[in-house]
Amino acid sequence: MAIHDAHLAARREALLSRTAVRLTLLIAAGVCFFIYAPVLWLGVLSLSADPLAGLPGPFTMRWYQGLFADQRWVEPLIRSLEIALIVSVLCMLAAAAVGRSLPRLRRGGPLLLGLFLIPLVVPGIVIGLDIFIFYRMLLGLHMGMWSLVLVHFIWAFPFALIGMLVVSTRFDVRLLEAAADLGAGPWRRLWDIERPLLMSGVITAGMFGFLLSLTELPRSIFVFGHAQTLPLFTWAETTSRGSHVPLIYCLNSLIAAVSVIMSVISVRLMSRWVKT
């Protein structure tokens, strides 16, 4: 077995020569740098006395203290957190219900999965506009918090479902049969066997839902009504080229820090199950 593995490794080596690997990683690291450099720079600038100058510094906590003075961000933040929590719970419930049964359907599993994943290939502004046209113009409903929850759910659910499926497609259904043979009823099987084994998928779904909702912008622009979320606030401030940019830097540095910590936790939860 070990010899076979070593052989295989040598063959793979031939498939991708060392130089090609280095080049590949260099390019990928470069692209990842372009993803993360702005986020780190955001944090650096939020501490800089003159954030709009070319080089940062001298460093100060002034802008963070400014967050207490100018509190226009508090209401959008609270609204964003409310919506994110609702979307998170909805994602957990729906992803749990769909994700655990989808792999066990005898027919139509892949088709249903495709149905749920369609929003991934529809740009945000199209979803936002379409939801507005249908619910506001055709049905005459007034936009508000419910429509924000709806479009955030549309955006987040496909990701939540994928997170759940990573765990649930690895679930060994024979465990349920064994439990049934040993006399466990349906509720007992659900609670004692499926719940502990699938919980990490459900938590991942919830975290994806929370984070995707917290930072959602393109769909929200069309359906916010009188409600304002933090990304909408940020969007308004950045496009108006106002003087409140330092405030935006501080707020979003904090949000980015929360996002990074939560995604580290959720990816770790998922990968623990991929390994076993």
Partner: protein, 295 residues
């Protein structure tokens, strides 16, 4: 994806929940998305629909010259997709077949996931302080006496729009390609090498055809969202050139909803044209594997 089967004992109500949610999803999400597109052939006064079929919205696109916006945006989306594909495919190949499981893989996965959770306008607006005439790049270059006057085309230009879109959409390209390469069995690669194929031939005749569903999915996941990206062109484009999302936003701000719906229809049509390519690629990959098994 392989679908595990359960023999018996799975109660019908569990499946009923899935079907019920699928119906709700179809009625509440998918149906509105499709129906709304029909507004483009109806008129609208404010938020009230006028029920007279007409192609005015589309005639406006031709007469106002806004079809150029469509072409320009398609060029932008194609460019970003190609760059992401060229950088992403080798990376996905390495990630799926070469990288050893360990902390490095976890870190890479996290760094590919986190971009989805960042505020789009916050992470884009930072580039202004990096690329602007008094920004980081120009300041550093001037301090080093490499340039005498600031480079103007770094910000509020085509360059900044193209550049700003590559990072955010890179994970969209890598993830599907990674999954499709992961599904290629090592035995197939082994067989190709045993039969004397060079690494290049193995890549071209085994890996790429079998990874084609993932490549097509990656292109769709990149091309279509870039067509509809409203943040980067707005913040980094500086209003010099209009892209599709700018048009949709400005039309809906001026309450020309049937005009906005016409552009949305164009975007959805692009997605609908590209989507069948994925099924085609899947079909062909499946046939190919079957043929290998038999021979």
């Amino acid at each position: 994806m392989r679908w595990p089967r359960i023999a018996a004992g799975s109660p019908g109500w569990e499946h009923a929940i899935v079907y019920a949610l699928a119906v709700l999803w179809s009625l509440g999400v998918l149906l509105p998305t499709i129906i709304s597109l029909f507004l483009s052939v109806l008129g609208a006064r404010g938020v009230h629909i006028s029920w007279h079929a007409s192609l005015d919205a589309y005639r406006d696109i031709l007469e106002s010259g806004r079809w150029e916006v469509v072409l320009r945006t398609m060029g932008l989306a194609a460019f970003v997709s190609v760059i992401c594909l060229l950088c992403g495919f080798p990376f996905a190949l390495w990630l799926a077949k070469r990288a050893r499981p360990g902390p490095l893989i976890q870190i890479i996965w996290m760094s590919l996931t986190i971009p989805f959770f960042l505020d789009p306008s916050a992470r884009t607006v930072v580039w202004r302080t990096v690329l602007g005439t008094t920004g980081l790049v120009n300041t550093v270059l001037q301090r080093l006496h490499l340039i005498h006057a600031p480079i103007e085309w770094l910000l509020f230009s085509d360059f900044s729009v193209y550049f700003g879109l590559i990072g955010p959409y890179f994970p969209n390209m890598v993830m599907p390609i990674y999954l499709s390469i992961l599904l290629i069995e090592d035995d197939l690669l082994q067989a190709s090498v045993d039969l004397g194929a060079s690494p290049w031939a193995t890549l071209r005749r085994v890996v790429i055809p079998l990874a084609m569903p993932g490549i097509v999915a990656g292109v769709i996941f990149t091309f279509v969202p870039v067509m509809g990206d409203s943040v980067v062109p707005n913040i980094l484009g500086g209003g010099n050139k209009e892209y599709l999302a700018d048009t949709v936003m400005s039309l809906s701000t001026s309450m020309n909803y049937s005009g906005a719906a016409a552009f949305a229809t164009i975007i959805v049509t692009m997605a609908a044209i590209l989507a069948p390519l994925f099924w085609l690629a899947r079909q062909r990959a499946a046939v190919r594997i079957e043929r290998r098994r038999q021979s």
